[in-house]
Subunit: 432 residues, 2 copies
Amino acid sequence: MKTLFDCQQLDAQDPLRSLRTHFSLPEGVIYLDGNSLGVLPKTAAARVAEVVTQEWGQGLIRSWNSAGWFSLPQRLGDKIAALIGADAGEVVATDSTSINLYKVLSAALNIAAQDVPQRKTIVSERSNFPTDLYIAEALCQERGYHLQLVEPEAIAASLTDQVAVLMLTHVNYRTGAMHDMAALTALAHQQGTLTVWDLAHSAGAVPVALKAAGADFAIGCGYKYLNGGPGAPAFVWVNPLHTERFWQPLAGWWGHATPFEFTPNYRPAPGIGRYLCGTQPILSMAALECGLDVFSAAQALGGMAALRTKSLALTDLFIELVEQRCRGHGLGLATPKAHDQRGSQVCLTREHAKQTGESSGAFAIVQALIARGVIGDFRAGDGNKHKDILRFGFTPLYVGFEDVWHAVEHLKQVLESGEWQRPEFNQKHSVT
Amino acid sequence: MKTLFDCQQLDAQDPLRSLRTHFSLPEGVIYLDGNSLGVLPKTAAARVAEVVTQEWGQGLIRSWNSAGWFSLPQRLGDKIAALIGADAGEVVATDSTSINLYKVLSAALNIAAQDVPQRKTIVSERSNFPTDLYIAEALCQERGYHLQLVEPEAIAASLTDQVAVLMLTHVNYRTGAMHDMAALTALAHQQGTLTVWDLAHSAGAVPVALKAAGADFAIGCGYKYLNGGPGAPAFVWVNPLHTERFWQPLAGWWGHATPFEFTPNYRPAPGIGRYLCGTQPILSMAALECGLDVFSAAQALGGMAALRTKSLALTDLFIELVEQRCRGHGLGLATPKAHDQRGSQVCLTREHAKQTGESSGAFAIVQALIARGVIGDFRAGDGNKHKDILRFGFTPLYVGFEDVWHAVEHLKQVLESGEWQRPEFNQKHSVT
């Protein structure tokens, strides 16, 4: 059985321990919600202040060129590419994840309409992140497609020769379960089906090999494991095989081949540049770059492979300690124990006490933990197959093994004391 | 003939003079490009720093509620509504102008397809801002519509019973010419045609009365006359008559009726909330609010009506001084002299010397002015009907009458000395 001392030893031996110093962590907080909003890189405050007071305040319009604002989507895109198994020049940082999904799903449907015009189905996972399903639903409605939602274990069987696009989130937001991107992409391609991957809970969290897997399209989030700040721009990658086959529908000036000729007709930029649309929020872009630059420091210490090793050690430890120390309180494990099926988060379930009509208590337990400075989050179940979830993200850049010990100790105390039953822990709010 | 002393007197008598103190203006700069990127409000640096270090750094995920991040699109939208003749609750600040145009134009086409299904034409102005035309072109291609581009004087005649949507930019980016929104909207409605107005060069610059005009949809920009900072979020307004008739296609989580129920099916939020899509860039949102708050201070001094009076006095003065002091250098006036047809900018033309194949010199003249600290911008002509343009924006919040005098004096010196012909003033770049 592991002790606090063991956890302290793991930190002392952690080759990535120094990366934590790149972040401002609030005093008294154990932050296990980096899968929702990553923490503040120490360089961000000064960098954003420089953009505000110097680049905007003094440089004004001239900063589009002199401060390199124009090249931000590509410059940040190249840094993201290195984390997701794509090449430089293939990724742009821009817009939101939802909007980027609209772009790539629309492009995928355009390609499918040309190559396999009789196919009218998009397959996704029923517990995919809802915004992905909403965007797909809207596109399906608009273009006469059908969105088929299946359970994860039914994905392979659903890949018939009627499926135009397989759209999946690589790591599930509710459970932390990770798909085998290479295997599912290969299976989809055997049927002539295109793949769209949402890397919201993958980029910066687990190694991703888009090109090696032969994936077709990918999008992802800038403010979770990439630590880009609240609402940081998202990113989009398109396999070079497809990039220039079609326009994406959000054909704005920044995606034009020669935007400053002000031609009345659209002519898409070559390459991934055509996935840009309108003017990007430069302050938020600048903060995102600070988040990405920590990964350069991580590169010297082994990069994503080393981060993955630590992430698995953290989540293994959390699972082990919860199983040992929190028994008898109705907790279950929603996250797979197999390493190759796990992202960088651990999700615990709590049973609804259906016979009494009581809630699962999961929400209140999370609130009681937050009051103690242990920040995770709650995701509601459907009262049916999907149970209520207590979700804990472990960002290996800044979470340590002693943090894991204390988080479980607090969880144990919250459960044993019954403090989660206090009324103040039942005021609902939450964010992905 | 006006003198420098006269201009100084105009500043001394200007009831809005104190508003200039709300902004950080770079030393030695006369900034006539607020129609491209507005200047820095003095409160923005501290406010953005607070968002970065406190709300993000310390509050982390909790700030979505505790710092009011969730209500930003509506809170800022209400402040914008007051400037454009809309009511509170009808506007959201979000995404980019191009993306918001896609949303409203798509919704307008949905309504037209139901109400007047045989109509397949969108009318716009040939010299509308290109990104608006690109977005319309992409939607037309996708949905089988035709984009008919006409000259401004031909708009009225083009409004036949075949036109589904009239899409116009209220104040033209190239010429500063302003359309009569009420008259064109009434004319369009007589034919059963919906109107979409781009207020990029209007919001905060000229009084806008969307509801009084009976307009159907409007979008606009946060970083021009609203001084929201580079790439600040844009805004979108929908006439309450239409808001709930259709989804817009970018159906992301933030536009869902109950986003935190995480339902697999989309159900649009009531009202303008459904025009939100994904997570918004909070740092850039915070800066935009600082820009908007200056208009609250302006409200006590007469608001948009007083700003309009000053704007017209500034542009009148600029036109008068250029005509008096810069004669004989091939300059023309692209902006209408009639007040009711003028926005808050003055655009000068310069003839191409076609016979010699020489350029108009307009680009180099603008560069020479910038080198002297007088920042305007250049817009290329088409070598045909549209001449090269020297564009000068007059933001009445911070531009003074003495600025106008000095700007014209520099222009005079640049033209008379021939310094614009130096090779260093011919390196091309520009941004809207």
